[in-house]
Symmetry: C2
Subunit: 352 residues, 2 copies
């Protein structure tokens, strides 16, 4: 079964991925950080039962991962794939996650809340991601009583999530807005419109590779559909700006921008050592090059795959050994080189 991130979604020239996440808590247990180990175990067991009893076939497409049974590297791979949060991977509680085979759906157990139901999708597919979350949420709620207040809505461990307890986000690739510096005013406007903007790995992380995550800040006093539509609409305004700026850059500064993109391609194809930051930055450049028709031998999907696999834990899992940072930089360069070489070979065969 193909992983979700090798699909090409709508508006993939700018939108890397869409994500919807619902926070839910059991009514009968205290929030995870105040709950007993026994409660935490029950949360995992009862949720799985609720899902699989109603639909035993679902069992085949999900894997339950217990965090105390897997290595630190395997836990960090899940973080790098955005399947679980860093907090969950490092938690002292009884934690785990139920993950679908295509890695689109995941339920985190005993993070900040008992359940975090999450759906990822390629490109701009917020409604689809929301529908899938809803589907799973409905199945679970048939068996489990959630902590819910008729006036406020869903109760959550952190007050910022109370109400709809939904977080809707899109990961946008904004190289033209970044290069021209216009990104600053875009980020300011987002704040005023109630959206939070973060780097690739959540709050307080830099926007490596010109990738920005936009998400709703307010969860209370609005319904879920409005929140989804609001993030989607604001995103499209940014997407349009990015597209216009790209066209302008390529029209007015074609030599300069093509030079930058092709140099990045040359470096990725030949470098013998690559830090994670540099690799992301160069991959961002070639993603733009692919979108603008400058690089035909690679696809957006190739870039997404590389962006995922060049990360420290994923790289170590791929190499099947623990690597120090210097070794990782060498393996990263080799992985990128080999990947590009293979794809270029495929392209040559196809066009010959």
């Amino acid at each position: 079964m193909n992983k979700w991130y090798v699909d090409v979604g709508p508006d993939s020239d700018v939108v890397m991925s869409s994500r919807v996440r619902l926070a839910r808590n059991f009514e009968k247990y205290p929030f995870p950080h105040r709950s007993l180990s026994e409660h935490q175990e029950n949360v995992i067991k009862e949720t799985c039962d609720a899902i699989f009893s109603s639909n035993p076939k679902l069992k085949e497409s999900f894997t339950l991962i217990r965090f105390d049974e897997i290595s630190e590297i395997d836990r960090m791979v899940l973080v790098e794939k955005h399947l679980v949060s860093k907090e969950l991977a490092e938690s002292e509680l009884k934690t785990g996650a139920l993950i679908s085979q295509d890695e689109q759906l995941s339920i985190m157990f005993n993070e900040e809340d008992h359940l975090r139901i999450q759906c990822l999708a390629s490109g701009m597919q917020l409604e689809k991601a929301f529908d899938i979350c809803n589907y799973l949420d409905n199945i679970i709620s048939e068996e489990i009583d959630y902590a819910y207040d008729n006036v406020i809505g869903y109760l959550t461990s952190c007050p910022t999530n109370v109400g709809t307890a939904i977080r809707v986000s899109v990961m946008l690739h904004l190289p033209a807005l970044t290069m021209t510096g216009y990104i600053r005013s875009v980020l300011e406007s987002c704040g005023k419109l109630g959206l939070a903007v973060r780097g690739l790995y959540g709050e307080n992380t830099e926007a490596y590779g010109n990738m920005y995550q936009l998400s709703n800040q307010v969860t209370l006093g609005k319904n879920e559909n409005d929140i989804v539509m609001s993030v989607k609409n604001i995103s499209y305004q940014i997407i349009e700006q990015e597209r216009l700026l790209r066209a302008e850059l390529f029209q007015k500064n074609n030599d300069k921008i093509s030079d930058r993109i092709m140099r990045s391609f040359g470096i990725l194809r030949y470098a013998r050592t690559l830090t994670s930051d540099e690799a992301l930055q160069k991959l961002s450049d070639i993603r733009l090059g692919i979108n603008m028709g400058l690089i035909k031998e690679l696809s957006e999907t190739d870039v997404s795959e590389m962006m995922l696999l060049i990360q420290p834990a994923s790289l170590q899992q791929y190499e099947k050994k623990v690597l120090d940072p210097k070794e990782r930089d060498i393996c990263r360069a080799k992985y990128v080189r080999d990947h590009i070489e293979r794809k270029m070979g495929n392209y040559r065969e196809k066009t010959d």
Copy 2:
């Protein structure tokens, strides 16, 4: 007929080329800058007569170029090829040059001295270059009386050339000495041993591409053979140091140095705009990569050819049009890209 610079000479891992130049003046005419236009014409005519009357066959392998009959670009191409000096190309006098088809031999007319007989050769071939200069010098001296003093030797326009009037030089590629910073003490020692060190284009030019020209400073009180041997011997000491350092660099810092070389290769293969300085620097890196067996698809000769053709005038002659600096940078990148692509294609065919 192949140009001299596409041959691979001895010790070509470090020695780019060898050059010997003799300064000669007619006894009967004042030095060029004090001579009449008529004298200058006679110098050209009488020298050609002296050479071709003794050996009419030589006529086929030489071309007489009159500087007032060729374009500025064509004149500058001769400078870039080291066939004539910049001073000659910009002179107001009746100037010209007799150049052999393989571009190994040239006689400049009416530069600082009436005649400058010069021979270039690939790699370390100082004796050969000296022999060839001598051969031509002997032919000329059978017909022409040189300005010569029995005690001092050959008389020249500038006192620094008086005596043997010989300049012996080698162009060395010293990336390892440069990277490690040891080059400074090498240059100091050269000064103490009576050698001048210059960049690629003579005095006061920087050592672009890690290329250094070593030449004798003293022309008086020694015989020609001693001067040739002295430059050769000192060069070999430097060559050995460079080789040891290269081996050490590749042993101790293989990742770092290979990374630098392969990145340079990637940039040359893909960049869309390249300044002359950057191209020389990167070509220097890949020359080292070829020597160390890291790049197999290209040869030293390919690098020499590219180093020559990326220069401003040569590039414009190749493109058959006048280009402004920005256009040159774009053409330079295209030329380098195409050249590498062609050579890599040849290599693939050979190894398939």
